[in-house]
Symmetry: C2
Subunit: 351 residues, 2 copies
DNA sequence: CAGAGTTGTCGAAGCGCTTCGCGTAGAACG
DNA sequence: CGTTCTACGCGAAGCGCTTCGACAACTCTG
């Protein structure tokens, strides 16, 4: 920078002001400085800038968990956030250890990041508490209990459950299961899981549907087991809604039980994505604009950092239920006494 | 830091040496300093450290393209790299604009990152050239033409194609199609695509297989169209290998043509992942240890940065072909004259 | 026991930028 | 025409660390 100043015949500070635009500089000076910058192929040093200005021009995004195989929707959040960040000339720092509030504030305390984006929020999230009390800027992809003063973008899973239920009710189903997230997540207070359960259990009866709440991890094995249990113990249940990839195991169990989809059993996934089309039958479900959501979360945070936005922005993203091939009218006959049912029972017994 | 020094009754520099361990400090001093650090809850400032030491303790990872919906294997690379980075107390900077060599070197030139990880490398990659000539440390997930002095980790796609071909040959198939990456990627010189083509075309004849090279993007629509064309023009072709998600469109086209998998047509995907199990029929294919690969790429770069490793490390990761349900013996009868064939022709004509 | 080497500590000079306060000159004002 | 503004440019003081050279106090050597 000193070289630039010398070459342009101006003071060091003038170069800085040309670059930052924080004070007015005469046209003449500006041009000379810019010319010198061009000639010397100068690039400002990020760390020096961060040190002097106190802002790193970086935001941190925490992955849910170190080893976690991210589900596609979360990966898309990240891609969206990355894009927004790059577009605003910020950098995006990726970090694991999402569950440790200490590690999260540390990044900001160390001046490595100016703000934080959190994913996978809990209903009562210590990380949010920590960030709030430390006064660090942040935004959420997800929601928490107390949303005052918080900027977030979240998918309206509750609404999606409701729409799914309504669709199934319209098709004549009177007993529907919800394959909610893993029980650990529920007890941990994972907001999306809580909302799913609450909406499901309050809304189903109003639609004349008996709700059966099942929890299962998204691992095919777990969901398969849970689904198998459900199918044998609840013969009246003719449809299921999954909150995620539980549909994999569910479809497997249905196949094993020799139940055809959608003729004998309907399946809806609240998180489907492009994926859904590939399955046979193509999966009815909700496609979320996850890329947009990630972008939004990053933009909200950056706006907060640059002082553009002071009021918190709260986005609840809605999405349409895309009816594909895995849902159909409720079957007339009950499953309980058919030959198929007996076959299935035998199969399950043998396992 | 000055406060720490004062509280511990030592010089500023001593505190620094305690922290960095770059000079020996007496046990007594060290304890006093550490105690003071503890009491004051001090954390070193990243930017200041970066400025003074000239190293940002950060590595940059470039996403293939800003808007790209990452395919799962790439997302898993990122997760793995993130994990390794966090574990080594480095930070991982995510950035788009992967195709612009200028943007890539800029991050290092600005001191925001000490090194770079590149994905989706081309056979003749200007970004690699640039990084090499600028003398910036980097590692690759992928390969390039000239590998001298380069650290990389790559999946052995060539080997996977070979294994897949061998498997199909064993099953009696004598005419196999390869659904390679999109033609743009091939002309751009995307290494994986080139290798796939070369191995396919040289190896197939040796196994008594007539190779048909097809290029298609991974979008279901494109692959569907390409597959439909193939099925009608090449009745002898009884199996296909896909390099990615082209199997989606392929399976769709097979269904539309009323061809059963695997009885009448076999499908192998060279990139399958957990995904494969969910499909009906479950997809035969190769599962790659992508998380490990990402981790490795990051570790290699960090070792290079910390001076632990001087010699470049080159890993070609092999993986097994997992035979699931989508491959079977070559059908006895030719497709050309069956009733089904005529039906299919009618269907394709109507589209 | 002098000279050489070792170990532990300190002070100070940066790293490359931002930003504050001051100074100067011309414009605007009464 | 003197006075107050405004616009613009300059110098210098940091930002919070790292690191180098100097130095003091020892411990070895022969």
């Amino acid at each position: 920078m000193a070289q630039i100043a010398e070459r342009a015949g101006v003071a060091l500070s003038t170069v800085s002001y040309v670059l930052s635009g924080k004070r007015s500089v005469s046209q003449q000076m500006r041009e000379r400085v810019l010319a010198a910058i061009e000639e010397l192929d100068y690039r400002p040093h990020g760390a020096a800038r961060a040190l002097a200005s106190g802002a790193s021009h970086t935001i941190a995004l925490f992955l849910p968990s170190p080893q976690w195989h991210l589900v596609p929707i979360q990966q898309t959040f990240i891609a969206g956030a990355t894009q927004a960040t790059s577009a605003s000339d910020y950098a995006l720092l990726l970090s694991t250890a999402a569950t440790d509030p200490e590690a999260i504030t540390q990044l900001v305390a160390q001046g490595r990041a100016d703000g934080v984006i959190l994913m996978e929020t809990l209903h009562d999230d210590p990380r949010v508490e920590r960030l709030r009390s430390a006064g660090y800027p942040f935004s959420l992809i997800g929601r928490t209990n107390d949303l005052t003063g918080i900027s977030f973008v979240d998918m309206d899973f509750g609404g999606a459950i409701e729409t799914s239920l309504a669709q199934l009710a319209r098709l004549g189903h009177t007993c529907v299961a919800l394959f909610n997230f893993a029980p650990e997540l529920l007890t941990a207070g994972y907001t999306a899981a809580l909302i799913a359960r609450d909406v499901f259990e309050t809304r189903a009866p109003e639609l004349g549907i008996r709700p059966i709440h099942v929890t299962s991890s998204q691992a095919p094995r777990d969901a398969f087991a849970a689904a198998s249990r459900l199918l044998s113990s609840e013969p009246e249940c003719t449809a299921a809604i999954t909150t995620g990839w539980q549909f994999t195991g569910l479809l497997g169990a249905l196949r094993a039980a020799d139940l055809r989809v959608p003729d004998e059993f309907s399946v809806v996934s609240v998180i489907a994505a492009e994926f859904a089309e590939m399955l046979t039958p193509a999966l009815t479900g909700v496609d979320w604009p996850a890329f947009e959501a990630g972008r939004l979360a990053a933009e909200m945070l950056i706006d907060k950092l640059t002082g553009k936005e002071t009021a918190p922005r709260q986005h609840l993203v809605a999405a349409e239920l895309v009816v594909r091939e895995s849902t159909g009218p409720a079957p007339r006959a009950k499953r309980s006494t058919t030959k198929r049912q007996r076959r299935r029972a035998a199969f399950l017994g043998a396992r």
